[in-house]
């Protein structure tokens, strides 16, 4: 390879120049990918496809990015299990990618890097599918999970041996294991529409039973989630929908007096958000009666008489979600009834969150945010105050050594583990936790132990004691580590 291109003068990020580069270079990479496929050099093919994916992402060409990702996943699967690729399938994947690139590179949809709008015309063609028993996929995913655990132990052992060739092989094995898991998890994804399609019947029955008129619609059903997440969402969604109809939407005569159309609007929609999917259940009904809920909570000793009046949305949700609270008579008068506690419990068990917004006379909206997949998640293992913790990699911006003289809050102290104070005898390491737009949060730990793929087991009892624990995971040595709930920790530090 030469010395690279001559260094250009500082220039504005020019949309036309990038569009031309994208067009020329992605076609060049496609040629390279086809040549590699012909030579059965799947590594080279993967790299070429991956490069196209990166460029398409930078250009905001969602269709080409998705097609490249699909091709990459196929290749990842093949590379992981070592099977001889089917030339037909590889050719098909590259054909799909090429047509997506052609559409993206046509002048009509050319746009600046990181462009906001994405041409709808770039959606990839329908991929070919095979039907597979879900139990087989589960079994494969279990094996892949076990494999990830073995890989962790292998990496530890290799680190002790200190042989470069072995380290390289272990590093390759970990990459392939991750690709295998990613491909399998993707194979388990099903569109939310499978669940949404059953909701109109729930709404019809609830409307008939309560004498309401309801106009129901769903949106965003093409968002895909893990089969397990989909199954687990059915119950809370049903609870929240029945509530919206029974207690949110007013009877037709009451709506007429309020100047609203006779039919109440109930909407369920799904949106992709960072790390998951948000499903909202919204009605245009009477809203939750804050005063009634507050009075009932005070009467039952759930809130002190000095509690804020009116309750804000978060405090309202906290009361409604108290087990048993909403099943009492108050459900009928409060405008929000049965099952909020059950819905919250299910969502939390998935590692998700529930939020409530309500306005008197205007309606109520519940938002469930859940991860796309369950199964394994990569986590950084740290020791803080002598205790192991796992921190999901999705919430870690990085690790570093402390700067000279720098003092950062110690994780052990933040978690309030007074029984295990931070070990300050050594400089320790600094963990940068991701707080989204609010920038990274630097916390001190005794040391960073490494990275593992962890199976996160939700432990509701733990959650009650440690509000910053998303669950627990079992380490290689059989020791149990808490999985840190970084958003909860960040919220507690700076609400």
């Amino acid at each position: 390879m030469g010395a690279g291109r001559p260094v250009p003068p500082a220039v504005a990020l020019s949309a036309a120049r990038y569009a031309a580069l994208f067009s020329a270079e992605s076609r060049e990479q496609l040629v390279r990918a086809r040549r590699a496929a012909d030579a059965a050099d799947l590594d080279a093919c993967f790299r070429a496809v991956h490069t196209v994916k990166g460029m398409a992402g930078a250009m905001g060409h969602a269709g080409a990015e998705a097609a490249a990702h699909a091709a990459e996943s196929l290749l990842a699967g093949w590379r992981a299990d070592g099977a001889t690729p089917s030339a037909d399938e590889l050719t098909l994947a590259l054909d799909l990618l090429e047509s997506a690139v052609d559409r993206a590179a046509s002048p009509a949809v050319g746009q600046a890097p990181n462009g906001a709008s994405i041409a709808a015309a770039t959606a990839p063609a329908e991929p070919r599918t095979v039907r597979v028993d879900a139990a087989l996929l589960d079994a494969l995913l279990d094996v892949a999970g076990e494999l990830a655990g073995v890989r962790g132990r292998l990496a530890d052992a290799a680190a002790r041996v200190g042989d470069a060739a072995l380290a390289r092989a272990v590093s390759d094995a970990s990459r392939l294991t991750q690709q295998l898991q990613a491909a399998l998890q993707e194979a388990r994804l099903v569109p939310l529409a499978e669940l949404f399609d059953q909701l109109p019947r729930v709404v019809r029955e609830a409307a008939r039973a309560s004498g309401r008129e309801v106009a129901f619609e769903t949106a965003g059903g093409d968002a895909a989630v893990d089969r397990g997440v989909l199954d687990a969402l059915a119950e809370p969604l049903t609870h929240l929908l029945r509530n919206a109809v029974d207690h949110g939407v007013e009877p037709p005569d009451e709506r007429a007096r309020a100047g609203k159309p006779a039919a109440g609007q109930v909407r369920v929609r799904a949106d992709r958000v960072t790390g998951g999917v948000r499903v909202t259940v919204a009605d245009d009904g009477r809203g939750v009666d804050r005063a009634a809920v507050r009075a009932a909570a005070v009467a039952r000793g759930l809130l002190p008489p000095s509690a804020p009046d009116p309750l804000d949305d978060a405090a309202l949700l906290a009361v409604l979600a108290r087990p048993g609270f909403s099943t009492a008579a108050v459900g009928r008068v409060s405008g929000r009834g049965v099952g909020v506690d059950a819905a919250l419990a299910r969502v939390r068990a998935l590692g998700g969150t529930l939020a409530l917004e309500t306005a008197p006379g205007r309606g109520t909206r519940f938002a469930l945010t859940v991860p796309l997949t369950l199964a394994v998640a990569p986590a950084v293992l740290v020791t803080a105050g002598g205790v192991p913790y796992a921190v999901p990699v999705a919430h870690v911006r990085g690790t570093r050594e402390p700067h000279p003289g720098e003092t950062v809050p110690q994780l052990a102290d933040l978690l309030g583990r007074a029984d295990h104070p931070a070990d300050t005898s050594t400089p320790g390491d600094v963990l940068l936790l991701d707080r989204g737009a609010r920038g990274p949060l630097a916390v001190g730990v005794d040391r960073v132990d490494g990275q593992r793929d962890c199976v996160v087991k939700p432990v509701p009892a733990l959650r009650a004691t440690f509000r910053t624990a998303a669950g627990a995971t079992i380490l290689d040595g059989g020791e149990v580590a808490l999985v840190l709930d970084v958003p909860a920790l960040a919220a507690r530090l700076s609400p």
Binding site: R5, R47, K53, A58, V380, G398
Partner: protein
């Protein structure tokens, strides 16, 4: 004196983009590399103030290149550039000696923040 950068990525598109972002912020791009092996050789020759390193490259990937560069120069400052879906590799990269990482598609502000932090 402007700080010097070595940009390592197999895609001209990405090298151009990172180069534009860095030069507009006043950094000098002294060289580019398109493979991991080339990155190691160019680093040895140019000794730049910092390196931006793609993870997936032919002929030695970015993580191995970081390891090799840090073996020669423990003070090397490397910003890792990873694509979406490679978060699992990020920590491996950091353990190999990368000081910071940014995720593609690049936000110029994220790239510059990461560079400022490795130079700090």
């Amino acid at each position: 004196m402007p700080r010097t950068a070595l940009i390592c990525d197999d895609a001209l598109f990405m090298r151009t983009m990172v180069g534009d972002i860095l030069q507009q912020a006043g950094y000098t791009v002294v060289g580019e590399a398109t493979t991991g092996a080339e990155a190691v050789a160019r680093y040895r020759e140019l000794r730049p103030d910092f390196v931006t390193m793609d993870i997936v490259m032919p002929d030695m990937g970015g993580i191995d290149a970081v390891r090799a560069i840090r073996a020669e120069d423990p003070g090397a400052r490397v910003v890792m550039c990873s694509a979406m879906g490679q978060q699992g590799l990020v920590v491996e990269a950091i353990q190999a000696g990368a000081r910071e990482f940014v995720v593609k598609p690049f936000q110029p502000s994220r790239v510059l923040e990461a560079v400022e932090r490795v130079l700090a």
